[in-house]
């Protein structure tokens, strides 16, 4: 009833080893009420959420990056330790630590819990996956564990509705208020004696609670026999990747047509109901034509993310990293780099941030530098537009020629990435050994709720990009390509006399050798902010240069009619390499903490792009 006067909320941190179900538990606790630290401007990647405790107060829950130990080997792990110690600027030390331990893999989680407990922060232990461990016939004496450890121990089943009830009951702020620690946690780097002490404590605990390691389940062993096989495993991996990229194109077709049709209908409706003039032009050409052209690609992006999330959730990705470690080692990459590089296919930004899980600065830097060469989802709209316009959809065996061209663009990016990594390996001086030591967690079915939550996050980010930066750029571009109006008696299309037209004419000098016309040159400028904007920009530019009332949705036939194959191929080559995304460069600056690497990255990518486009333009031109 009466509003609490003192601090009404309790800061809780979830900590646990990777794959213990901590993030699922976090989702269970906070639902969709979470903030995932967004890309630019944040120094620590943090997932934070809120929920109301049973006593009505607010729990502010922080999901710390998973770690095996408080002696970090990666940046992620160092962040976890530093947050617990209150060393991170805007993240005060938690008032309650929830240590999440996977009951199936009790030893490794309990060892971390012992280490955390030594910090002296108030703590509860969430024993997760109690259902699985019971099914495997392992009994854990929780009462004994709680008394031996001296902290409350609560069973949780993070993936089940109601699976966190016992935990929620236990973490009511009122119960913990008096335990608030004032002093910063005691800390010194763990010595060999500390480690030995922890191990002997752990042995004692495990014996006391009657834990015996469960046998690997039969079907999991079967799966591993195939998926970890040196040959079969690689065959499966290649098949999975291929299905993923084919699905992006075949499954997305229908919803894309609906969105496209909807946008065209909206454009016509607007044009029919508004008097001709600047407002109608802005709405139809600028907003619907521009933003709509980007919106069409939402289904493809979602399918790509669906695959990546499902692969991640099923715990297949670390196995792929194992299979590829040896090969990637040949160009100086760790197998661990596979995971950040795969997510770079969705977007380089989370990929670059995921590179934090790579121990060793050199390996991490190499991964960061090549991440933008993985074909991100923002390039999809451009590829899809050009391929749709100029490549016939003929069948090549069981495949579609358009799909194959798309696949080869992805391959081009990968090959270039490996080559750059190889160059860096040979010219980067002394290397620090970067360990693999990667856990291969138990397989599990991807959890529908987690997938939906992950996709919803992507939809929100994409729509806010379309509604924010992309829309703003489209309006600016519409303005630049509309004004000043052509003088009386002008013969060419009006855009040639506008600011954008003049800018395009200047840029054309630079880009003419690689076959770009002035329309493309203009579109590349807003494309710097976000690659997919280039498609919208082309839509606007061509809509503005058309004499009649052609509106959005008509871009493909215009390109097919006016561009040469060499120009289109050259633009495709440009998009494989060009550093067309300022937010990527910004995140590189943040992650490497220096201007040096984003500048090097931009320079080498521009050079690669220009050279590749030049060669492509000349080669295709000579052949055609």
């Amino acid at each position: 009833m009466d509003a609490p006067v003192s601090t009404p909320s309790l800061r809780i941190a979830l900590i646990g080893v990777p794959n213990c179900g901590k993030t699922a538990l976090f989702n269970r606790l906070t639902g969709s009420r979470q903030k995932v630290a967004n890309y630019p401007g944040v120094t620590v990647e943090r997932r934070e959420g809120e929920r109301a405790a049973l006593d009505g107060r607010v729990l502010r829950i922080l999901d710390l990056p998973g770690t095996y130990s408080l002696s970090p080997t990666t940046l992620d792990e160092a962040i976890t330790r530093d947050v617990l110690l209150g060393r991170v600027a805007d993240a005060p030390a938690p008032e309650l630590v929830v240590c999440v331990v996977d009951a199936v893999h009790l030893p490794i989680g309990l060892r971390l819990a012992l280490e955390v407990k030594r910090l002296g922060l108030p703590m509860v232990l969430a024993l997760n996956r109690m259902d699985v461990v019971a099914r495997r016939g392992v009994h854990i004496d929780m009462a004994r564990l709680a008394s031996e450890l001296g902290v409350p121990v609560l069973p949780t089943i993070a993936v089940k509705r109601g699976g966190a009830d016992a935990l929620i009951e236990a973490i009511q702020p009122a119960r913990w208020e008096h335990r608030r620690s004032i002093a910063a946690p005691a800390w010194h780097d763990a010595t060999a004696e500390d480690a030995e002490q922890t191990q002997s404590d752990l042995r004692g605990l495990l014996a006391a609670v009657g834990y015996a390691a469960p046998k690997e389940s039969h079907w999991m062993a079967r799966f591993d026999a195939v998926l970890l096989h040196p040959v079969l495993g690689l065959v499966v991996l290649i098949a999975v990747m291929f299905v993923m990229f084919q699905a992006v194109f075949s499954w997305a077709e229908a919803p894309m047509n609906w969105i496209d049709g909807g946008m065209a209908w909206l454009g016509e409706l607007t044009a029919a109901n508004l008097p001709e003039g600047p407002l109608s032009s802005l709405l139809v050409n600028g907003i619907i034509g521009g933003a709509g052209a980007v919106l069409v690609f939402l289904p493809q992006i979602l399918i790509l993310f669906l695959f990546i999330l499902a692969l991640e959730d099923s715990c297949y990705l670390p196995r792929a990293a194992y299979l590829l470690d040896r090969m990637m080692g040949g160009v100086g990459l760790s197998g661990r780099a596979f995971i950040p590089l795969l997510s770079s296919f969705a977007c380089a930004i989370p990929g670059i941030m995921a590179a934090r899980s790579i121990p060793g600065w050199r390996d991490r830097l190499t991964t960061i530098m090549i991440a933008p060469l993985m074909t991100c989802s923002a390039r999809l709209p451009v590829y899809a537009l050009l391929i749709g316009a100029l490549i016939p959809a003929t069948a090549v065996g069981p495949f579609n020629l358009q799909g194959l061209v798309m696949f080869s663009l992805y391959v081009a990016g990968i090959v270039a990435a490996l080559a750059v990594a190889w160059v860096m390996k040979h010219f980067a001086g002394v290397r620090q050994y970067s360990p693999l030591m990667l856990e291969l967690p138990d397989y599990q079915w991807p959890h529908a709720g987690n997938l939906l939550l992950g996709l919803w996050e992507r939809v929100k980010i994409f729509l806010s990009r379309v509604g924010g930066i992309i829309l703003a750029l489209m309006i600016v571009l519409w303005f630049l390509s509309t004004y000043p109006a052509p003088p009386d008696g002008a013969t060419g299309p009006p855009i040639q006399y506008s600011f954008a037209g003049r800018l395009g004419a200047v840029l054309e000098y630079i880009f003419a050798p690689i076959g770009f016309n002035w329309q493309i040159s203009i579109a590349l400028v807003p494309g710097m902010a976000a690659r997919e904007v280039a498609v919208g920009a082309l839509g606007t530019v061509y809509a503005m240069s058309a004499a009649g009332d052609d509106v959005a949705g008509q871009l493909e036939p215009v390109i097919a009619a006016t561009w040469s194959l060499a120009t289109a191929c050259s633009l495709l080559a440009w998009y494989v390499f060009a550093p067309q995304c300022l937010s990527t460069l910004a995140v590189v600056k943040r992650e490497t903490n220096s201007w040096r690497y984003p500048i090097i990255m931009a320079a080498y990518l521009f050079a690669l792009a220009y050279v590749a486009s030049f060669i492509t333009y000349r080669a295709v031109g000579a052949l055609a």
């Binding site: 095996y68 130990s69 002696s71 080997t73 199936v104 893999h105 009790l106 030893p107 490794i108 060892r111 763990a190 060999a192 480690a195 030995e196 191990q199 042995r203 015996a212 390691a213 469960p214 690997e216 062993a221 591993d224 026999a225 970890l228 096989h229 040196p230 040959v231 670390p318 990293a321 194992y322 299979l323 470690d325 040896r326 197998g335 121990p359 060793g360 002394v430 290397r431 620090q432 050994y433 360990p435 693999l436 030591m437 990667l438 856990e439 291969l440 967690p441």
Partner: protein, 140 residues
């Protein structure tokens, strides 16, 4: 089953092991005839960890060798832990997959070489096929 055979190993052999470098391991706990690097085990072979030892391969001079050993220890490669090789990559088993303490890890050859282990004889093993069975019967 494997637990039983592990017990037999512990009871059957009580000779001293070579002292590992990193940890003050109680060698009487981890009996063995001889310690091998984990990297030498074949797929499907099981073993008991006897300790961790410095090896070459983490060439850098930044002390990351110690980091690797500390992390191996934190992952559960400690004296007395039972482990089993699940998979080895071609051609030389680099990396390999090892199950320890109920968890599974991919280790590079150089990392696995730092873990000293004692092989466990499996039931269909060469000449001592009968010996462990008899001992376990006696135990029961």
């Amino acid at each position: 089953m494997s637990c039983v055979s592990a017990k037999c190993e512990l009871i059957a052999f009580t000779s001293a092991t070579p002292k590992p470098i990193l940890q003050g391991v109680n060698s009487s706990d981890s009996n063995a005839r001889s310690a091998h690097p984990l990297a030498e085990l074949r797929r499907g072979e099981a073993a008991v960890v006897s300790g961790l030892a410095e090896v070459a391969g983490f060439e850098d001079g930044h002390g990351s060798g110690a980091v690797v050993l500390a992390r191996l220890r934190d992952l559960g490669f400690v004296a007395g832990a039972h482990c089993e090789v699940i998979a080895k990559m071609w051609p030389v088993g680099d990396p390999m997959v090892v199950r320890v303490g109920g968890s599974t890890f991919a280790l590079r050859r150089a990392e696995a070489a730092a873990v000293q282990v004692t092989r466990l004889e499996r039931e269909p093993a060469t000449q001592t096929a009968l010996a462990p069975k008899n001992t376990s019967a006696a135990l029961a």
